[in-house]
Amino acid sequence: MSVLVYVEQAEGKFKKSVFEAVSYAKAIADQQSTNLTAISIGDVADSELKELGKYGASKVLNVSADQLKTFVNQAYASVIAAAAEKEGADIVVLSNSFSGKGLAPRIAVKLKAGLADGAVELPSTDGKFSVKKTAFSGKAFAITELTSANKVIALNPNAFGVKENATDVAIETFTADVKQSDLGTVIKEIVRATDKVSLPDAELVVSAGRGLKGPENWGMIEELAGLLGAATACSKPVSDADWRPHSEHVGQTGIAISPNLYIAIGISGAIQHLAGVSSSKVIVVINKDPEAPFFKVADYGIVGDAFEVVPKLIEALKAHKG
């Protein structure tokens, strides 16, 4: 019995959410008094793989077959399930990223495992193996017991935090047979905006709504986000009107996020929007309507016109940063 964590790489590097998943998996391994093994698929240098030891992995399985250089969930699931069986791992952990969401269910079926996705806390240790996960689009949490022998957990980004736990790490090459039928999808192109912070795992988010009146007014939002090193987001009416891309829409039918700081500008706070952002650690609301429902769930608020407040906020932030 051991814990296996899948470490997703992008262009040979691991992101913070990966180190967070390793930290979380290490804490589970400690609960179970066992070791943590990581599995990496694709081209990753040994120096980068060794980084995983900082967060508690004592062994890294490195898979670098030619046909696995780019993400194919079907084939990756086969490799990870094979590694779990070989290592005798009964708990598989991964990050609940876009790719993780396509991967975890396939691993779960292969291992006949219960899957807790959107996990926000460590499993309980009261005899039952239960995981707290988000449900009802952030309006609630479901304590989900994984009753199967094997278990798969997909951790929400920014839910657990990165915890250093220096461990001697051994890197091993791992090979697994990949069926041709596992390679049915072919990636043609990957487009990444490298100058922007990715929204799902951002620690700070600046979001704006209809109160901004039009897409031409987003300059100050982007400036504020740039100064903070924050990602930008928006409300549903804004993405519906094509002022901003759908990928920025947070809320019940968009994406749910849990950053350390969420600044909402010109967003009234409809129940569907709040569902997607209510697990943010600190919420700041700027709205000219003192009756806006968003103020009821905010930590800090400014009642005022966004077009006056945001430029002043930018000045104050510049002064703060010196």
Binding site: K110, I143, V191, S198, L199, F295, D299, V309, L313
Partner: protein
């Protein structure tokens, strides 16, 4: 082209979520149910792809008879026929197994779902069905075009997108961007009453998860209001009190 669209029956997005029986059950009292909004996007794209005699769209739901109005809504939007697997949807693993069992010998070219249901937010069913059927699954797609036997798909990734192709049968979960949700017209609503809705029995499968309790997010304290001309004190509080910048 034969397309199968999986639909969930979920509480309306404006629903205030509460629980009963010592927080072990969702309180369904007074709740309005709708077709899961993401499933509507999947259904709308399926209808676009098959319009003009190019194919048929079947919707499938795993649920009890109370779901029939929601299934009729999907028929009113434009699906040709429907099937309901008559069982309470225990978890995603159970639902995916039922859909895979139904689909395995029906020769659907494409199976679509929404990216997730807005109640349990599983995001699990599409990839699980893909695994049960041993066909490719693509999660959280933003665009779907079909040309003969090959589909071109855009999928969301952190900070960007991935463009991929898939040939032969596949399943995909649809997000915003795939299609504009269609609204049923009067003719659709009338014809939905007489379109076929088959009811089939569920197959047995082992239990792998069980929700034992629900929690609602902890309420926040009262908002601290800062005068509009004192933005510097907001920055100060975020730095020294909240410690987030």
């Amino acid at each position: 082209m034969k397309i199968l669209v999986c639909i969930s029956n979920v509480p309306d997005t404006t629903t205030k979520i509460t629980f009963t029986n010592d927080n072990t059950e969702f309180n369904t009292s007074g709740v309005q149910y709708i077709v899961n909004p993401y499933d509507e996007i999947a259904l709308s794209r399926a209808i676009e792809l098959t319009e003009g005699g190019k194919g048929t769209v079947t919707v499938i739901n795993v649920g009890e008879a109370g779901n029939d109005p929601t299934i009729r809504k999907a028929l009113a939007i434009g699906a040709d026929d429907a099937v309901r697997v008559n069982a309470a949807p225990r978890d995603a693993y159970f639902v995916a197994k039922q859909i895979a069992e139904y689909a395995k010998d029906k020769d659907f070219n494409i199976i679509l779902t929404g990216r997730e249901s807005i109640d349990y937010n599983g995001n699990q069913v599409a990839a699980m069905v893909g695994e049960f059927l041993d066909i490719p699954s693509i999660s959280i797609i933003k665009k779907l075009d079909v040309d003969g036997d090959t589909a071109t798909i855009e999928r969301e990734i952190e900070g960007g997108k991935e463009v991929l192709t898939v040939s032969g049968k596949f399943i995909a979960s649809c997000a915003e961007g795939v299609a504009e949700p269609k609204i049923p017209n009067m003719r659709g609503i009338m014809s939905a009453r007489t379109k076929p809705l088959a009811v089939v029995d569920a197959v047995a499968i082992e239990e792998v998860t069980k929700v034992t309790k629900y929690e609602t997010p902890a309420p926040r304290g009262t908002v601290k209001l800062i005068p509009a001309d004192q933005t510097e004190s907001l920055i100060g509080l975020l730095h020294s009190e909240a410690k987030v910048i």
